[in-house]
Each structure stands twice: as structure tokens, then as C-alpha cells.
Amino acid sequence: MSNQSRIRLDRVSKCWGATTAVDDISFDVTPGQFVILLGPSGCGKSTTLRMVAGLEEASSGQIYIGERDVTRLPPGDRGLSMVFQSYALFPHLSVADNIVFGLRSRNVPKAEQRQRLAHVAELVDLTDYLHRKPAQLSGGQRQRVALARAVISEHPICLMDEPLSNLDARLRSDMRREIKALQSRLNMTVIYVTHDQVEAMSMGDRVILMQQGKIVQDGTPDELYNRPASAFAASFIGSPAMNLLPLEAGEKGAVIVGEPHTSVAPLEAVGGQLGIRPEDIALSTTSTTGVPALVVSDEYLGADTIAHLAIGDHTLRVRLSGRHRLAGQQCRIGWTAEAAHLFGGDGLRRDDLTAYSLLPAAALSAESASPHPQLQPQR
């Protein structure tokens, strides 16, 4: 496919007075890619998107679309469309007029407008609603109108700014699939801003995680989940988030603060953090090996149970499949060396060290479906 829809940011920054919203970021989106800009609110992801769109001017750096330097071009000349969080539908215009608004601005002939409208309306399933006003539509339908308006322009690039955040949870998961399907069907290049890690993991070909105006990690959802580049990335991806336990020096190695008897990593890891995903922790009430912990409470979520454990001075969450009543019991927990992530004092991932494998015998974990007799779900 042509290079027309390649987007490249080269050392782009945005400052308002003394505050820097976006701090010297660079990335390169290949055509047809679905890229997620992920991060907490105020991390600069929306500003980045708006700079690509041309709604904000970059304070420094260059933005390229295709081979063109578009840094100073007005939004209308950049050849892209955008879906807004608030949908930005014109309330006085019918659905049909909203969708063809841009075509009218570009003086597309009437007959072609009608033809493209019919095609796009069918694509997003709005054919029966073309004469309604936006106020007469449900949230999901308004979202479709906004999508249709982006699609009908036939721009190869579509920018989306938290398009699903105004929808309820159920509709959101439907729309996630629809947007993804539409994108791959039309082979659009999409930059999608969200703070929802579920959207990022499920939709993105690639996720760019941002924090305080900087890119923390840029990779596939798989990489972000399995090899988080920093403690921040680790805590942002996954639900419940990864457990992060500070390490201090013990007799034979690094130990979890408040739990001096079991060393979990080499001494060099002291001062950093040990990260383990709740689903990677094995738990046993009978084992004598592993890290001792006390189950404080358990939350039953249907398919699985989240147990809250006190270990040393810290609490940590363990995800167990099925239903378990463990509150108040002493137990042993552990994990494999591959499941444990080590982060340095600066929060960055340390690949030079490997944590110890601490699997307790006869453990109960999210993966193992054969719990110990004592841990049979109680009825």
C-alpha cells in the first residue's frame, strides 16, 4: 500500500507557558496500523493527537504525513479525519447532513455525495436513521454517525480521541469490535487515544504508553503485558494491576520489605521493586515452601476470585480461578522466575537480573485447575 498514510513524529513538544504537555516525543506509524496512545489523564496523549490533527500547533519538532511536512499546515489540508470524544455532531443537522458535511465543504458533486452516503450508512448500520437529528439517537448511534463522518471522507488516516468513553460498558465492548473490524476492512491507519487499558490491549496493533508527556513504552500489547518497560507500565496494564513489592537487603539476597526470611531475588535487586501479576501467583495453604502470607479478604468475581494478601508490610492481589473462601487463613505463595519482573530504583525494568523461582508445592493458581483438597470451593 502507498506511503500516503504514514505518520511520523520527530521530536515533537508542546508547551503552554512553563508547563510542558508533550515532551520531545518521536514515533512512526506505518500505514494500516492501529496505534493506541495510552496513558493516565494529563499525560499528553490527547495533545499529541491534536497536534497530528493540526488542532494544536507543535511548539517544536516536525510532523510528517506521507512524505509531507505538515507541522504548520491547517487541519483541513492534512488529509485526515477525526472522531471526537463528544462526537462533535452538528445538533441542528440531520444524520445524513452531518455525515456529508465535509463533502459539502469540499464541493463534492451532489450525486457522488448521495452515493457515498448510502454506502457509508450501510457500513455503519445507520440507513434507517438518516433523517433523524442527533438528539433523537442513542449514544451508540451518535458514535456511529461520528464514525460515518470520518469514514465517508475516505481519508486514509483516522484519529480517534477516546471515542468510547461516553458509552456504557456493554456498548463499549460491541463498539470496540466494530471499530476494529471497520479499520481492518477499510485498511485505515488509526491513532486511537484512550486511558482504558482494556481498549488498548484488545484493539491495538501497537500501544504507545505515555506518562507526563513522555513515551514510557512503545510496543505490541503482548510486549506491554509480558515485558513492561517500567514499574509504571507494569501498574498501568492489566486488571487488577501488577503487584509491586519494594525490596530490601536480606541475609542471602533481596527480600520483600517486612518479610526477611525468604529471599526472592539476587542482592543486586535491592532498592528496586519486584513485580508479579496477580494471575501469575500460585497460592497454597498446605505447602511449607514459598513466601508466607495472610489472606486478608477475598472478592468473588464470578469466573475467578481476587484474594487480598498481607505480606510483610504490603498487600498484594492474587487471582484464583473459581470460587474460594480463604479470608483469615495463613498460606504460602510463589511464582516462577519468568513471571517475576524486577524494576530498578529508577522504576525501569532490569533484564540483567532474574528473580528466584519460588513455586510452593501443591499450589493453587489461576492456571492450575486442580486445587488442593483443602481448597475446594466451599458450599
Binding site: 471526537f84 445538533p91 441542528h92 465543504s105 471522507s153
Partner: protein, 312 residues
């Protein structure tokens, strides 16, 4: 007596179903009592005078203690054959046509201007609004100085440029125009506030969405901004129309309706009839005519224009 006797909190649902006929009547009475003060005031100061005016316009006063005499529509016949009335009515029409479109357009232009990014925006907004805070009498006095034949600002400026002065308020062919200009100056700032409020209610994303499609400013204004301002335009239009008939304070200062009724407007003519010529009957008759005209205009507004206007 406790009007809520049948509707204690908590017991409401059960009791409502079986609420007896008298309980229901009590509730209605309670509601009516709440409405009473406002209704009483409205009746005393709005509806009764209106009815009295309509009645007055159908009678001739009796002289020397004789009873008033019902004459039907004779007063209206007299009024409609009065050339001064037609002149005043025509003046008022010209006044409305002269002030309303211009002040609306000006108000919208000013609102668009001060809604944009602008240095000293607060100051400019305040400056535009200043004429509105001035009482009409004070404003008219200021304009007296502008319009004064020898020492007036306008004639001084014209003099500097080498033109001979104009008798702004004394020349019958110019006087109404002078009054119109002053009214526009006074009203535009007031209407601007409504437009400004409405403009700030338009989400900025609409502009951004249309910018992304390369829509020109001009096209965005006519396709989005203006239609979305329609409710405000209607509101302001009705207000301007009522003001065109209702506000005559400046005539007291500037022209007193003269010269030769060249600037006389309907309400001022009503005042003259009632308190200068002591012809209360004629004053009542003109008042009824004004009311009817305004009623027709308001009906047109609510039936024709409202249907074509988008309300959010």
C-alpha cells in the same frame, strides 16, 4: 388545617391511591393558594388595565356628569381617519425597520468579535455593553450634545472637514434617522450579551470538526453558527420589536415627537393623547391597536419561525 394531612412522607404511595375526594380538593386548594399572590398582582396590574383599556376604547366619555356612551367601533373609525395616527404609525414602522436589523447585525458582529481570541477582550466587552447600563434618559442627554446644531460633536467634525452642519434633530427629513442611530447605539450592546452567551454555548469541537474538513470560516458561520444562534436571534428579535414600540424615553429628551410629528412614535402619541390632549378614549384606542399588532407578530413568531428553528 394541615394541607398535607393526606400525604405524609412514606405513607404517600398507599394513601395517594385511596386519597378521598375531599383530600384531593384540599390539595387543589393548596396549589391555588400558592399561585394566588402572583395571580393577584398580574390581574391588578396587567389584566384589569388591559380589559379597562379595551372597554374604554368602546365608549365615549360623558361630559358634565352625563353617563358614558357606548359607541362600538366608532373610536377606531375616528382613529383610522386621523392622518397624524398614520404618520406616527409609519414613523414607528420606519423606526422598527431602521433599528432592529441593524442593531441585530451589529450585536452579532460584536459578539463574534469579542468571542474570539483578542487582547483586552474583557475591556472591549465592557465597552460594548456600556450604553446598555446607561439609563435611556442619560444616553439621550449625551446624544443631545452630539446632535446640537452649533456646538454638537457631529457638526464640529463636519465643520473640520469643511462641510456645513446638519440640523440633526430639527430637520424633519433627518430627525427620525438621528433618533434611530441613537437607539441602535443603545440597543446593540444589550443584544450582544445574548449572542455572546449563545456563542459560548456552542461546543468548540464543532469548529474543530469542521476545520478538519477544510470548511471555510464563512461557510462554518452560515452552516453551523448562524443556525445554532437562531433561538437567540428569535428571542432578541421579539425583544427588539417590543422595545421599538415600548421605549420612547429618548423622545422626551431629544425631540418631543417633533418637528411636526416627524419623530413621533406610537407610544409617545398615546402619552400625548392621554396627558397633553386629555383624550383618554383615543389613548385607549391606540393602545388596543398596538396590543393587537404585537399579538399578531408574537403569534407569527411562535407558529412560523419556531417550527424552523433548532432548539437544543
Amino acid at each position: 388545617m394541615d394541607p398535607f394531612a393526606g400525604v405524609r412522607p412514606g405513607a404517600f404511595n398507599e394513601r395517594y391511591v385511596i386519597m378521598s375526594f375531599t383530600d384531593h380538593r384540599k390539595m387543589q386548594l393548596y396549589g391555588a393558594l400558592l399561585l394566588l399572590p402572583a395571580a393577584l398582582l398580574l390581574a391588578t396590574f396587567a389584566y384589569l388595565p388591559t380589559i379597562a383599556t379595551v372597554v374604554n376604547s368602546l365608549f365615549l366619555p360623558g361630559f358634565r356628569g352625563a353617563p358614558t356612551q357606548f359607541v362600538g367601533l366608532e373610536n377606531y373609525q375616528v382613529l383610522f381617519s386621523d392622518p397624524t395616527f398614520w404618520k406616527v404609525a409609519r414613523n414607528n414602522l420606519l423606526y422598527a425597520l431602521g433599528t432592529i436589523p441593524t442593531s441585530l447585525a451589529l450585536a452579532l458582529a460584536m459578539a463574534l468579535f469579542v468571542n474570539g481570541k483578542l487582547r483586552g477582550r474583557g475591556f472591549v466587552r465592557m465597552a460594548y455593553f456600556t450604553p446598555t447600563i446607561l439609563p435611556m434618559i442619560a444616553a439621550a442627554n449625551i446624544w443631545m450634545f452630539f446632535y446640537a446644531p452649533q456646538i454638537g460633536l457631529f457638526n464640529k467634525l463636519l465643520g473640520i472637514l469643511g462641510f456645513s452642519g446638519v440640523n440633526w434633530l430639527g430637520d424633519p427629513s433627518v430627525a427620525l434617522g438621528s433618533v434611530i442611530v441613537m437607539s441602535i447605539w443603545k440597543e446593540a450592546g444589550f443584544f450582544m450579551i445574548f449572542y455572546l452567551a449563545a456563542l459560548q454555548g456552542i461546543p468548540p469541537e464543532l469548529k474543530e470538526a469542521s476545520d478538519l474538513e477544510g470548511t471555510s470560516r464563512w461557510s462554518f458561520f452560515w452552516r453551523v453558527t448562524f443556525p445554532l444562534l437562531m433561538p437567540t436571534t428569535l428571542f432578541v428579535l421579539i425583544n427588539a420589536l417590543i422595545n421599538a414600540v415600548r421605549v420612547v424615553d429618548h423622545l422626551f429628551i431629544l425631540t418631543k415627537g417633533g418637528p411636526n410629528n416627524a419623530t413621533n412614535l406610537l407610544l409617545y402619541y398615546v402619552y400625548e393623547n392621554a396627558f397633553s390632549f386629555f383624550d383618554r378614549t383615543m389613548a385607549a384606542t391606540i393602545t388596543v391597536v398596538i396590543l393587537l399588532v404585537l399579538a399578531v407578530v408574537a403569534t407569527l413568531k411562535f407558529t412560523v419561525l419556531d417550527r424552523r428553528t433548532h432548539y437544543q
